[in-house]
Amino acid sequence: MSQQCRELLKRCSAYLEGDLDGACCEEMQKHMQTCSKCREMLAEMKWTIELCKSTPVAQVPHEVHDALRARLAAARSGH
């Protein structure tokens, strides 16, 4: 892995979140024009973040909900 690739790996989250200044962004974009591995890495990072965002939400099972209500009721009554 070249030094430039390492720099990109270090900064790719900052790049994706818009935390880098214009000069840094340009430098990264210039590097990616010629480095397919870094383009791939950046695409995979974006994809990983999207995947996390779209994680399915589990419904609370009825028995868990009922146990919670019972625990709260017990706490309220001082038990």
Binding site: S13, M45, W47, E50, P56, A58
Partner: protein, 206 residues
């Protein structure tokens, strides 16, 4: 410029319920807190990796919320306040966990990732499976990857990328600096990407 003046971060409906609770109406508690049952249960599930512990996290979080809500002034969003409690519960719980021993993730461990691997002709996101329409198989793999993260990285990834809180909110919840949150988050993302890479390669080749 930030100020130290107290700010009410509650939604109007939450403020009304909180006022009712603090004036002695106990029933307002559940109305106020129960909308967060599903997010806190899911957070516990992803932090702990099993339903029993997630149930404990949910119960402990809400019991603590009941205990401390009387003194809550709305200086944080209610959701974030609950996540702070839940994070604390998870951190205490995980001291006894057999999962993912605590260790540091260094950037250097990701440097050689992909060396020698086959390159793709179209190395952009178009070759990647659509994250929004994938089924449970990938979801399970993601969960395993997240479980493999040391907890201090896992908690940041879950709050920021799964729950969608801002880096500043995560920093407030975990009492960390924003740069420290971003540093942990970056390493956590690299780790998860690395764990999912074999799956991605297989998908792309098929």
């Amino acid at each position: 410029m930030e100020t130290n003046e107290p700010i009410d971060r509650l939604e109007p409906e939450e403020r009304a319920l909180l006022d009712r609770f603090q004036q002695g109406e106990e029933g307002a508690f559940e109305e106020l807190i129960l909308p967060f049952e599903t997010p806190i249960f899911n957070f516990g599930l992803r932090m702990c990796g099993n339903r029993e512990d997630a149930q404990d996290v949910l119960q402990e979080t809400f019991i603590n919320a009941m205990r401390y809500l009387q003194g809550f002034r709305g200086e944080a969003k209610l959701r974030n306040w609950l996540f702070r409690i839940a994070s604390s519960v998870c951190q205490k719980k995980h001291r006894r966990s057999k999962f993912a021993p605590e260790r540091e993730l260094s950037l250097t461990q990701f440097y050689d990732d992909g060396d020698g691997a086959e390159e793709f002709d179209v190395p952009d996101e178009r070759r990647l499976p659509d994250a929004e329409v994938l089924g449970f198989e990938l979801s399970d793999r993601l969960n395993l990857a997240v479980q493999g993260l040391p907890k201090k990285y896992r908690i940041v990834l879950l709050l920021r990328d799964v729950e969608g809180l801002s880096a500043k909110e995560v920093a407030e919840i975990l009492a960390m600096s924003v740069p420290a949150v971003k540093s942990r988050l970056h390493r956590a993302r690299l780790f998860v990407r690395q764990e999912l890479k074999p799956y991605l390669t297989g998908r792309a080749a098929s």
